[in-house]
Amino acid sequence: MSLRPATAEPRWLRTLLLAVTLLFLAAFLVTPLVAVFTEALRKGAGAYFAGFHDPAVRAAIRLTLLTAVIAVPVNVVFGLAAAWAVAKFEFPGKSLLTTLIDLPLAVSPVVSGLIYVLVFGLNGWLGPWLKAHDLQVIFAVPGIVLATVFVTLPFVARELIPLMQEQGTEDEESALTLGASGWQTFWRVTLPNVRWALLYGVILCNARAMGEFGAVSVVSGHIRGKTNTVPLQVEILYNEYNFVAAFAVASLLAMLALVTLAAKSFIEWRMTSAPASPAVPGDPT
């Protein structure tokens, strides 16, 4: 008889837990993913690619790319600024600021869209002014970009803040003492120190920017070929019972999700296997 360590579960229990895990994940995670590709290819490769010849689909892809190209860099700048202020300085209201940065994650996507309708919509605060100047935000591209910027606002900041807090200010102080300017310190010291976390934040931010549905749906107005992003185009095709095309377009987003997950795993591996900063002499840890 083999002895099992006192701190391990009996074999039958281990097998049971493993089986529950695998079955649960297979049913809940793997099946939906496989279903997207199976449904997209149900009528063969020809039907699959035919979906992408639709001008409305192409317009949706262009709009989604445009939205991400604006929303991600803007939130990178915000994330770096917020992380610099929060991580390198002490000031009153700091924890309030970090809580507010997380707010868009807690708000329902639908509410995120609604707040912009209430500001920029015809009945909104700025509605009459915008109309007088012949500008349109809601049911137009600017509204879609704004709603996307809102929902993706936290992603870069919340990856950078904890890391930069952990790294402290010693590296930057040394650089400044050695005569580097503030910008040089930022570009040559801070940015290389946080590059993997920054990339991580960018990837999550981009995935959300390209995939956002609820918030964008509220502000878009669903004008075919004009204000439909890729997820909204998926909805329209699906509701028209054009299932093959809907899943074909959805498969693009699913591939984006897979690339995101792969990149995420790679960066996590890089971050954990990166050489730790040398221990401070006399520091017991």
């Binding site: 006192a6 701190t7 391990a8 579960e9 493993l18 529950v20 895990t21 695998l22 649960f24 994940l25 995670l29 793997v30 939906p32 993913l33 279903a35 700048v77 915000f78 770096l80 917020a82 202020a85 300085f89 002490e90 000031f91 809580t99 707010l103 807690a106 708000v107 329902s108 996507p109 639908v110 509410v111 707040i115 912009y116 209430l118 500001v119 909104g124 605060w125 809102f150 606002l153 919340r158 904890p162 400044l176 503030g182 310190t185 930022f186 995935a207 995939g211 509220v218 997820p231 998926v234 909805e235 809907a246 899943f247 959805a250 987003l253 984006l256 999700a257 997950l261 795993s265 996590e268």
Partner: protein, 279 residues
């Protein structure tokens, strides 16, 4: 008069970065949110209350809360099993499984929505298995629960994993050498240590599920009073130009989101970790 306390730092850029962050946050998030509250004030308390207590609104809120609670509870149970297996056991494909846990975050909600609907439809892969049992998932509250469980899983697993990894082996060894059975060790040593993280994960999953829209609208069928969730009701009222109704429900959801955020912050302080990777 004293200036606000600020640690003397040789680093430059405090005013610039803080100023930019605060202005940006205000323009993008805080001022639009104020618009919502001001609009709600225009309704008056009476108007707000009569909107929120309409039977259709009440039914939608009941479904949203109930399904989010059931979904988060299911995730607490299965998420715990998944996290335990991933942290404690070594098996083939573990790294792959660990990576796909985040799929519900990465997959756009509209895609999850149509995929889940297809799978659980009566002729779908899993719906076919449920049909002989007389269980209908698509266009029923069960469908809502399924979507919300899907969306919430990573929250529980990702909060529990670091907590389980941090458990010191010698504490369990000590318990065992003092004569505790494995069950006793689990109940008295392991469980109390991870309960803050489990509750945090539950709260995160619940908060996310309350506001979820994309993955639910396809599978729920959106029957008013039956399978209509609160966020969808906001969209419906907006489409009918009922701004007052949409605003009232949105304020309700937003206040609950604020409250959940505070609860989650308190729970994270209790469990001693603020940062949650990948959420």
């Amino acid at each position: 008069m004293r200036l606000p306390r600020r640690q003397h730092s040789v680093l430059p850029g405090f005013g610039l970065t803080l100023g930019f962050a605060v202005v940006y946050l205000s323009l993008v998030a805080l001022i639009p949110m104020c618009a919502l509250f001001l609009r709600a004030r225009g309704l008056g308390w009476g108007g707000f209350w009569s909107t929120v207590t309409e039977p259709r609104v009440l039914a939608a809120c009941r479904l949203s809360f109930g399904a989010a609670f059931i979904g988060a509870s299911l995730n607490a149970v299965f998420g715990f099993v998944v996290a335990w297996t991933l942290v404690r056991y070594r098996f083939f494909g573990r790294r792959f499984i660990d990576a796909i846990i985040d799929l519900p975050f990465a997959l756009p909600t509209a895609v999850s929505g149509i995929a889940l609907t297809t799978i659980y439809a009566p002729n779908g892969w899993l719906g076919r298995a449920l049909e002989p049992l007389g269980i209908k998932a698509v266009f029923t509250p069960l469908g809502v629960v399924i979507a919300l469980t899907f969306i919430g899983l990573p929250f529980v697993v990702r909060t529990l994993q670091p907590a389980l990894e941090d458990l010191e082996a010698d504490v369990e060894e000590a318990a065992a050498s003092l004569g505790a059975s494995r069950t006793q060790t689990f109940r008295r040593v392991i469980f109390p240590a991870i309960i803050p993280s489990l509750l945090t994960g539950f709260a995160l999953a619940f908060a996310r599920a309350l506001g979820e829209y994309g993955s639910v609208v396809f599978i729920s069928g959106n029957l008013p009073g039956k399978t209509e969730i609160a966020p969808l009701l906001i969209v419906t009222q907006l489409e009918q130009y009922d701004y007052a109704g949409a605003t009232a429900i949105a304020v309700l959801l937003l206040v609950i989101s604020f409250a959940m955020l505070l609860v989650i912050n308190a729970l994270q302080r209790w469990s001693g970790r603020r940062h949650l990777r990948g959420v």
